[in-house]
Symmetry: C2
Subunit: 419 residues, 2 copies
């Protein structure tokens, strides 16, 4: 008998029929002898609809009240799912984030989980019930309802799995696993069977939308095994777990891309100590998420500072950029919304220095210009024009032979362990 | 400076435009120097929509989960209203029933308020904010979300007004006060300026839908002055307060009618001690609200027991009636859904014994048959055929001269104080 957390996204519970299908899947796991905790998102487009409704009332709603509003989406889902399970003759009990004791900080609309007091979930399981938990939401120590930001239901699921020491956290979604590239862009993309937390983190951070970045971080930090799979088929999906060093690692796991960011450039920042600190402190205080940062070499006592940020943060970023330009005496700021990121991720690239060169050549051969570059030990990201991103993804997927599961790095031999 | 609770029903907050109008009314009261607590219902038909959604999933949903679902309706309203007030440049903070500390019993879907811990509301007022409270909902001592039943938002408003010792509880609705009869049925019905708790209770219990019965009871028990008025006009409505004995009371306050009940008859109940107790204990355990009860005189060792109950309770009532018939060895049960109640209410009728006679004559003259009769010291109710109820209401309103505010009881002199 295993303790299983099953997380169902908005598409999986998007209609009464789908809600029933989810209930049947949960009941099947329970009848197989497992203890099941279900974490659910809001149905379908409910969260977007609520955001639109709020915008009709107040274009910049107070974030505490936005959280109060959005938290209702998941509350509807948990109640309906509990009803669906009851109609199948099994006992289920639903809990909101506050009821479960998902305690967060005060960062409304993107709160961080501080603690999971899962006593009520444990009690429900001990009583033979299915516990149903609202994803995406929590409560501050002083009792305000918070939300965890988009994708927060994945984080809830992993946090609950960690809190009750579950054997696995199954994340059900509308795709059947993590692929070597987005199958909508690359038709011969391959499903990845097992992937390490580190690679999954880089893929998620680079735009692979299947799993939420924070949930993977949380899973790595707490040793929660994630099984990412489809809610529409019974097929196994992708397991995310600690890298098994006894196995040989693929050089490249996959290609991810992301069109959700924009580039902000502060032009002609006077080159003095603390200028960059001022820029990014101001952005942080304005609640602007900053991803890639590039500072050019200084010319004539001034420099350009560029960074990428989610388009969703641009209203705040523009306002903060005004403040930065005024404070630093910079020339101006510019925003480019027609950019995209394309990233190559693989734990094996640590020991294969030719990967970057091959990546740049493949992009060049495909006629794709590179604007910015950033790297980690297992990832290389290029910012390109948005209109070229699909060509870039296909070129990289082909160049590294990802469709064949037989990744080759041209010309450059793998580094030996002795080097 | 007064402390004012303002309650807005679902129609008043039924669209973003109306939500804004409510926000403007609240802000006007605040700018006039008052401390304002707003209690709101779910927008428009949201609660009905949620009930229908639940029925698609499970025709008999567990009541705890139904409460979990329905509570989201008011939570949406409070968040949006807070946003609307912010957009007018004022501070507002929303609270769910659990957050305010509306502690109830475990009677899911019709919970009773045990306690109001309004500390967070008091704090918000002290900070100069408008406090916005979700109507209709509360929380059990062990943390489950409950709802108070239809009309529960009025009860929330009165309970919060009592909890913070407000000067008045303004109940805004889509009509501009309490009338001598339903103006849709009787076009020349008159708005009542002031009415006592007792008369309002009888009118509300008899089907006058403007104010919720429990909220008036709660107001009477805690001395909360209610001002029932329209959210669409600034006109004064109807004040409900302690009867002022120095004023002469109208003989008749109004005529109420109610088509929401059905009549259940248990036929040929063996005439033995405890039979009636068995019937109504079984109904109470099945959560069936019983209104009027009539037991005919016994014939041949058996009797019929009839009662009226909300049609909404009929599913449960039928099941309980099966159990009753089996347990008592009664012949059968019957349900008549085509009945209506028509009631005459007035504190003055205590001292005017001719009222009942005039009522029965007026109904008879209008060709209306009377099925059951029940009375209190200030009310007489007749059950009639549903198709005749409007004729009955018009006949009574006319017979007692309610349109002229000059109520006459024919033939019978008023009882003197000495009698």
């Amino acid at each position: 008998m295993a303790v299983i957390v099953q997380k169902y996204g908005g598409t999986s519970v998007g209609s009464p029929e789908r809600m029933r299908a989810v209930a049947e899947r949960i009941v099947a796991a329970k009848e197989a002898g497992h203890k099941v905790i279900a974490v659910v998102s809001a149905m379908g487009d409910v969260t977007d609809d609520l955001v639109r409704l709020a915008a009709q009332i107040n274009p910049e709603p107070p974030e505490r009240e936005l959280d109060m509003l959005l938290a209702t989406g998941e509350q509807v889902s948990i109640a309906l799912l509990a009803m669906a399970i009851h109609s199948l003759g099994h006992e289920a009990i639903s809990f909101t984030g506050p009821q479960v004791g998902i305690v967060t900080d005060h960062g409304h609309t993107k709160a961080k989980i501080l603690e999971v007091r899962a006593d009520r979930v444990r009690d429900a399981l001990a009583e033979g019930r299915v516990a149903i938990v609202a994803g995406f939401q929590g409560v501050t120590a002083d009792g305000s309802i918070t939300t965890l930001g988009r994708g927060g239901s994945d984080t809830t699921a992993v946090a609950v799995a960690a809190g009750i020491d579950a054997d696995v956290c199954e994340i059900y979604t509308d795709v059947d696993g993590v692929y070597t590239a987005d199958p909508r862009v690359v038709p011969d993309a391959r499903k990845i069977g097992v992937i390490s937390y580190e690679e999954m983190l880089e893929l998620a951070a680079s735009g692979a939308g299947v799993l939420n970045l924070r949930s993977v971080e949380f899973a790595r930090n707490h040793g929660v095994v994630i099984h990412c799979r489809s809610s529409f088929t019974g097929a196994p999906g992708t397991i995310v777990e600690e890298a098994d060093n006894s196995m040989e690692q693929a050089i490249i796991s996959g290609v991810a891309h992301d069109t959700s960011e924009a580039k902000v450039t502060i032009r002609d920042v006077p080159d003095r100590p603390g200028a960059a600190a001022t820029v990014f402190t101001t952005m942080a205080e304005a609640n602007v998420n900053v991803d890639m940062i590039i500072q050019n070499v200084s010319e004539a006592g001034a420099t350009d500072i560029s960074f990428t940020t989610p388009k969703a943060d641009l209203v705040r970023a523009r306002r903060a950029a005004d403040a930065v330009v005024a404070e630093l005496g910079a020339r101006e700021w510019q925003v480019d919304e027609s950019i995209a990121k394309v990233s190559l991720v693989g734990a094996g690239m640590k020991t294969h220095p030719g990967v970057a060169a091959q990546m740049f050549r493949a992009l060049s051969d495909a006629g794709v210009n590179i604007d910015l570059i950033s790297t980690s030990t297992i990832r290389i990201t290029c910012v390109v024009e948005a209109r070229q991103v699909e060509a870039a993804v296909r070129a990289l997927h082909h160049s590294f032979g990802l469709a064949e599961g037989d990744v080759s790095v041209e010309s450059v031999p793998a580094c030996g362990k002795g080097e």
